[in-house]
Amino acid sequence: MELGRASTFDVISTLPRVVIDAILVRLPFKDAVRTSILSSNWRYKWVTIPHIIFDWQCDPTGIPSSNETLKKCVNIVYQVLLRHRGSIHKFKCVNYLPSCSDFDQWILFLSGHGIKELILEFSCGDIYKLPSYFFSCQELYNLRLQHCIFKIPQAFEGFSRLKSLYLCDVVISSDELQCLISKSPLLESLTYLDYGYEHTCPKINIPDLRYLYLGGSFEVICIENTPVEELGMHKVLCCLRNVEVLRMHNQFLKFLAVGDVPEMVPNTFGHLKNLSLDVDFENGKEILAILCLFRSSRRLEELEIRACFTDSVDSDSVDSDSVVPWEAQEQRVCMLKHLRTVTMDHVTGNNSEIEFIRLLLANSPVLKTLTIDTEIYDFVSEVMFLRKLIRFRRASTQAEILFND
């Protein structure tokens, strides 16, 4: 009788498969699989779940250290994969297991099940060599790897559907990276971070790129097979003309600023919405370069600047105060009409930075927040800095200046 009542109200079990999948996908993976013990109806509902995710939520104690727990975790992955039915849309394994040969088996399995998103992240110190069947996952559109070795086989035809590529500390030669990028015609988003390994020189040659994030200490960046400094601002910005989000945490500006820095590069960078750069405020040319960027990008909405110091004794680097005519700049810089959020890190309160902030405040009519993270350790200097800041005229009545501790 209880059962009779139960079946009348048990609506959720009668929902169509797509809806159940939509619900299960929004649960932590472990909870989704555990629904198999709820009732006989639910025993096999999880097996069509499109996303398989192994991360800290599956094992809060972290990567298994003992052999036994390692075997158990590996077993779990095997069991999940074997029970799964249908195609697997996304497979994510982040800091769940150390690299082992079982991963080869799993990638082989996934490649036969139409994997579309693959996220493999291993922890620091660990490294995993991608097997050859990885390169036959033709449905991939989102790939994210950390601490892997990428060895492209001869017969590689490219990932024809790849849209988003994220490589962090991946061992890959610049030619191979170039090959990978050029054979992925739909690539829109590229993130290449290189904090530890060989400082590969990434060669960017993607006309449709919308999102570019390069991080690490590169000595040279090449765009269209030419080092950036030889290209000059014009060409670089032209190559990146469709980029909407640009994050370069290395000396990108330094490369751009070599040679003559024009005032503005017309008709380019019209799509840039989000910009994140390292700027050396002591180097006048870099400031000119960034001002040029501002003038060239009409739609900039979010800006993130990190003040850094380059020890370069470059003959090109000129003291900013002499090179940058701040007063004149204020008149000539186009209004940053859409700029809404600005974040500045590692601000030390030198003159150049102060003038830069003044410029920003005076030229952004819709600015909402300016967040400053100072590295001024001396109380008096900080007060001086704040006093100067207070004076500045703000084009936006909504602007707030926030300080991060």
Partner: protein, 342 residues
Amino acid sequence: MSESDMEIIKPEVMKSYIWLQTADGSIQQVEEEVAMFCPMICQEVIQTGMGSSKNFAISLPQRVNPANLSLILDYCRFHQVPGRSNKERKSFDEKFIRIDTKQLCELTSAADSLQVKPLVDLTSRALARMIEGKSPEEIRETFHLPDDLTEEEKLEPLRNTTDDMRIRLLNRLYARKRKELKQKDKLKDVEVEEDRVDERSVDDLLSFINGDGGSKGIRTAKHKKKNRRRKDQLKDALSNNVSDSVEVVFVPSPSRTSKFLDLSEDTFAPKVDFEDADIDDELDPAMKEELDREVEDFARRLNSDWPERMQEILSLGQDKRRVPISINGNGSLQRYPRIDRR
């Protein structure tokens, strides 16, 4: 043609309406911009041109009933206005999903059939939140799911051939106990941390988290302390049932019992060693007392959390649930008719 009809009927109305028909036959008209927010309706209008008048109303998929439809249209009406801020939309959404669970499920299904993706996302997230982090009992209660899996099936993912017999024996013993207590209804004062216990057994046996030595060891220690307290309670409970009649008992033949000695521990606590449990297939009430004692003995010797398991099942036995009983294919004695599950 049909448009001019509309104009004659309502010449003063500048808005255009779309006619929709739900599966039960009722027809209603909806403002065009609201209805077009649903991709399925939009597609119908564009591809087939239907919906412009009452006679040509778009028939909606079966999963959409009038109640759901009005909810969906409220959602569409709010969100199709472009000028709303994110905050407004969010707070509308939060209020919108505060409906009864059954309604929420049906709404999700209806939204999916009309392909209103943001609404499907909103409702399925709400349902996922109701499942996340809860114990199986809580989930079953929320969604009125029947608890009709045997212990064996619950443990199935990790079943090896050697574990079979153990599980089956316990199944039978539990089943018997459950039935007894269902009738007695005496164990209301047995305190059971259902969540924790159940979680423990599921975790243990599904080996999904913390299935390794460290935390498990800690838990084992804790359970041991509780063991003693509960064992006493259990003893009392069991001794009270001596006079009950026995319903069903399945007992393995002695030859199989000896196989227990060869079991590898795997999922259960390593220090299991039990003697040849001398379990006869005697069913007289007189033997029942001995059987009770042996059950307890047996349980004690097993994985330390089995007593809690039993407690949990004993107290759950108060619910009027089907008692799943697994059948031993090898022909153990079945004195009483078995109850079909399903």
